[in-house]
Symmetry: C2
Subunit: 424 residues, 2 copies
């Protein structure tokens, strides 16, 4: 199987951040040529902007089913009266359809890789493999019974999950201890130990709200990051979602260890967490900084173009400095930064890289005139502009049509799941 | 000419904010029926979400040509090194093509009415009439020579402009003294007097930046709002763009007079103005509060769906309160609030209103499941979801295709204008 992207404007995201005019050739799962290509291919796409697919580093895929179910509510009330009661009713079939809907929304918006964290993770991983989404599948570890199993079953089930998926092409199994306020020290240690044994990532929430920080401080005499560190869960493979309330010292700790921060500006703003993930300080410390949407219940989209714009603007406004976070820095967060942290050969358009590639149609009123392509991608583009999405060399969205799922059937099942879950 | 919107989900934005299932009938420029319609129409559109078109109450239409030309720069440097040098080169043909591009971007994003403020306003008004956009065309008054004429010619030219357009169906001529820092007291008085004589609106910038407030305070011993008031420019027909740095007392003054505040959250954040238009206080005082994108040079889109989301989220985050500004309040700002202030029979789907109506396709992954339609419109929808746009009863965007402009020709002329203006 080969794909030729012909006469393209290529945003390479290579080390020199070149934007060139030319062709990209994809053979099986690999980008084999970037330049001028003369040979034929099974699929040819002409005259597009070509760039690496966006990487959504923190989300809860099946929560698309709860999009708009509770808005404009204080965080605690939102969880207690809306999210938790519905989550208790979740069955495998809901997870399957919610994840499929998430996949569709993500690829239609140019996302090719998602770092998930939820219950029924084996089901989620299976859907991702079937529809063709690259996924860091985070198996949630938490000190409560989940909709799927009893709390004491979680650690062994997670281990089984890792062994099942550890050699998959698209799915990377991840250990996801939920947070320091919902996991005891012992649970953190067991989760961290397992991640170490299997040499995989740890994905956790860290300092999302001020309340959380003080709660953990009161309980353990240490802030969330120190608590993770103490119990072996802060490593060069740790993915820290949010970090809206971390200190400058914690910025240095994170950078020193080589852990990764995932900024979720839209969710933080919508839930009114008040914190500001300290991007300028994280950049100065050369920390790994990436982007996520969080779940659709608190965003309410999985749109990484939108998230890029929010990420740039929230810090400009907060610091009274329009230059504090640039378009290029934000595009890097959504592509090369994530790829580099994960050690995955994606995130740029270079020969030998895995083909996670998206195409945009630049002939659109919101992307003209072409003064500055990177600016347009961060400040002006939207999912509307994405025409084609290739993940691991496979076309999953072609001419704005889903290739691997039956759109109408999914929508029907989504509404059915909604009725089952909310009785409305 | 008649249009039937059949089997629709109708977000009426009437006084009881009903969302109903049914049909909408449009005859010539008027919504003649809402309910169950049995007769035929020239155009029939089925199975859409139908809602009033969005009203963008502050923008600079031709500045689409400068989208992405200067980003990530401090405001002063941005104006001095990027915007002003290019604006000097503006000719009528650039204004014409920039305004046409703006129209296309706006209707593709569901906007049916724009309040503009720029130079060459007669050209802008002409384009709006030709393409079919409802427009409050603000003739800029400023104490500098403009790219179009000498400063002393502005007031008489504005008067001529008002007389020419005052009875147009689509274009409402508006007097637009730029601001209290760029207009002398005498200029403000002459502009305000003219607006009063012709019983039309005054559109001005007010307290966008902290610097502006202190500049005016230093020069005149009064803040911008007091300065407007003193010189007759604060009336029940005054549109105040930004108001990011107004006081609680100024909130009361604005509400008392019945002037209208236009919140431009995206532009404020991108230019790092630091201020927060005090929406909760303005709502409490029952002030007219509306929304705008500002120009594409500082946004960088004219997307009112995006602006609605930013408007809701910036205040939640700033006040640490997810309930402080609701989706319904924001949707009202973009529709009925603007219509009510202007005294225009638009902004809702009701019999007898002018037909400024948009259709969205709800069969989209970002708008499912349908828990809460208003939430989806503010937090999840994007221009991608808009399929049809009717302005003053005329179809200007049908099945995602522009009816009144030649898309390819516009794009070609846009790139040519870009080259002429920037030499690149």
């Amino acid at each position: 199987m080969s794909i030729l992207l012909k006469d393209a404007t290529i945003v390479r995201q290579n080390s020199t951040r070149d934007i060139v005019h030319g062709d990209v050739y994809i053979e099986d799962d690999i980008i084999t040529e970037v330049g001028t290509v003369h040979h034929e291919a099974d699929i040819v796409i002409k005259d597009r902007l070509v760039m690496p697919g966006l990487m959504n580093m923190h989300t809860h895929l099946p929560m698309t089913l709860l999009r708009g179910y509770g808005d404009d509510l204080p965080l605690e009330e939102w969880l207690r009266t809306r999210i938790w009661p519905v989550e208790k009713k979740l069955k495998e079939r809901h997870i399957r359809i919610g994840t499929t809907l998430a996949f569709m929304e993500m690829v239609a918006g140019g996302t090719t890789c998602a770092a998930d964290m939820y219950f029924f993770e084996d089901v989620i991983a299976g859907v991702c493999r079937d529809v063709g989404m690259r996924c860091l599948a985070g198996f949630s570890i938490i000190d409560f019974d989940t909709p799927e199993m009893k709390r004491e079953e979680l650690i062994p089930a997670c281990e089984k999950f890792i062994r099942k998926w550890q050699n998959d092409d698209l799915v990377i199994p991840v250990v996801a201890p939920h947070s320091t306020y919902s996991c005891s020290p012992e649970t953190l240690e067991r989760a961290a130990g397992m991640a170490k044994r299997y040499n995989t990532y740890i994905h956790t929430h860290c300092s999302e709200t001020r309340h959380e920080v003080y709660d953990v401080l009161n309980r353990y005499g240490e802030r969330p990051l120190a608590q993770l560190k103490k119990h072996g869960a802060l490593t060069e493979k740790t993915m820290l979602a949010h970090c809206g309330w971390i200190t400058k010292e914690e910025v240095r700790d994170i950078a020193g260890v080589g852990a990764c921060v995932i900024h979720n500006p839209v969710s933080n703003m919508k839930l009114a967490t008040g914190g500001y993930t300290p991007l300028p300080e994280l950049f100065d410390a050369h920390a790994s900084v990436t982007l996520g949407t969080d779940g659709a219940a608190s965003n309410n989209t999985l749109d990484m173009f939108e998230t890029m714009k929010f990420a740039a603007l929230i810090h400009k406004h907060h610091r009274w400095d329009a230059s504090i976070v640039t378009a290029q820095q934000v595009l890097d967060m959504a592509t090369v930064n994530a790829a580099r942290f994960l050690g995955l050969p994606v995130g740029s358009i270079e020969e030998g890289k895995k083909a996670d590639v998206i195409c945009l149609d630049l002939h659109a009123p919101n992307l003209l005139p072409k003064h500055n392509i990177v600016s347009h991608l961060v400040y002006a583009a939207s999912g509307y502009n994405v025409t084609d999405v290739i993940i691991n060399g496979k076309m999953v969205y072609h001419n704005r049509t889903f290739v691997t799922v039956d759109e109408d059937q999914v929508y029907e099942e989504v509404e059915k799941a909604k009725e089952e879950l909310t009785g409305m």
